[in-house]
Subunit: 214 residues, 2 copies
């Protein structure tokens, strides 16, 4: 299984313990300040990319001595830093992409990161991308039927509609649903798994699933 | 000016310095764990409400000795804790409602809090509600023309569409717009004020405005 982890520049306080997500065959991308953060964690990314305007000249020079492939982009660009990292990662055809550092701090960054996967050009990325922080595991879904496992360290599960959703059925959760319809922007929060697995399906739209701790 | 501040139960790490938001004529509502947090900050709320399942029996008993009006709601309910607090606050006809503790930690709570104001029954609340955390000032807008001031401690401004938006014009920002159209879920992030004030207007839809620090 080919896994690429991306670290973007959100606050350090939201980053989970990275050791469980690191192994010899997993490659890391550091985006902007996320590249420095990886070095701070003792992880040398395969590629560092971004406008690096959040780093000092000295920090950027140090980054270049450590990372073989550093790609600088202009600060004024149409893509967000996360989108640039995700585009590069998708070109490597991975089975899974985990994004860290996408939450906390600036809310406009968080919203842009969450909404990125609703863009048509990232449709192929939806099935492989997870976002992970200290409190949340986040995954986006397109229409279909899914069986998901409860993460052992998470208590709550929530379904947020990122587009108008029809035919939503939830089984194996404390609050089940049968063929329900919800407009975009509905936050079905604070649900819980009844057993270790749950099933959900929907006919149209897009769903952001979160498993969270308090 | 009648101001009501609501503290909900998000993580303490996201709460800004509350002293600048506190004065004799401002009343506080503590929702669930937010009620305990207010006491921890030396603030006695006028009302405490929630299911209080995040408090121990001892903490709830202590709360009742300090707060004159404690309202307990069942844990299984259709409204979120924040919605219960907001409904009560709206009944007092305030000029402004500030919500603290609505961000950080559980992402499903944050999304539910942001999307709350898109619900028709909270339409009257949109002009008076602000959400504030350590990094972000958040306000929702219905169609119209607005002049907004740069907050002195914030660098970035962003416009996120909570419904399909038409006729969006931005003046006085680094990235201006003229009569633009964006579908729901567009995150126009990382804009900046050129001067101390900026103007924006739109014809239909709903916009979430954030002013943020890194």
């Amino acid at each position: 299984m080919k896994i690429i982890n991306i670290m973007v520049g959100g606050p350090a306080s939201e980053i989970p313990d990275l050791r469980q997500y690191t192994s010899a065959e997993i490659s890391w991308i550091g985006v902007d300040r996320g590249a420095k953060r990886l070095l701070d964690h003792g992880i040398v990314p395969t590629v560092a990319m971004g406008d690096f305007d959040s780093l000092s000249k000295e920090e950027l020079a140090h980054l270049k001595t450590k990372v073989a492939d550093v790609r600088e982009f202009p600060a004024e660009k149409d893509e967000t830093d996360t989108e640039i990292g995700l585009s590069w990662a998708m070109e490597q055809n991975p089975d899974k992409i985990r994004i860290f550092g996408a939450t906390g701090g600036r809310l406009d960054h968080l919203l842009a990161n969450l909404m990125m996967l609703t863009k048509p050009r990232f449709l192929n990325a939806v099935p492989v991308v997870e976002m992970i922080d200290r409190y949340n595991y986040i995954k986006m879904y397109t229409p279909g039927s899914y069986t998901i496992e409860k993460l052992p360290d998470k208590k709550y599960v929530a379904f947020t509609t990122m587009k108008d959703v029809t035919g939503l059925t939830l089984k194996g959760f404390a609050y089940p649903l049968e063929n329900a319809t919800y407009p975009v922007g509905s936050a079905l929060s604070s649900n819980e798994f009844v057993e270790k697995k749950g099933e959900f399906s929907f006919k149209s739209g897009m769903i952001l699933l979160t498993q969270s701790n308090d």
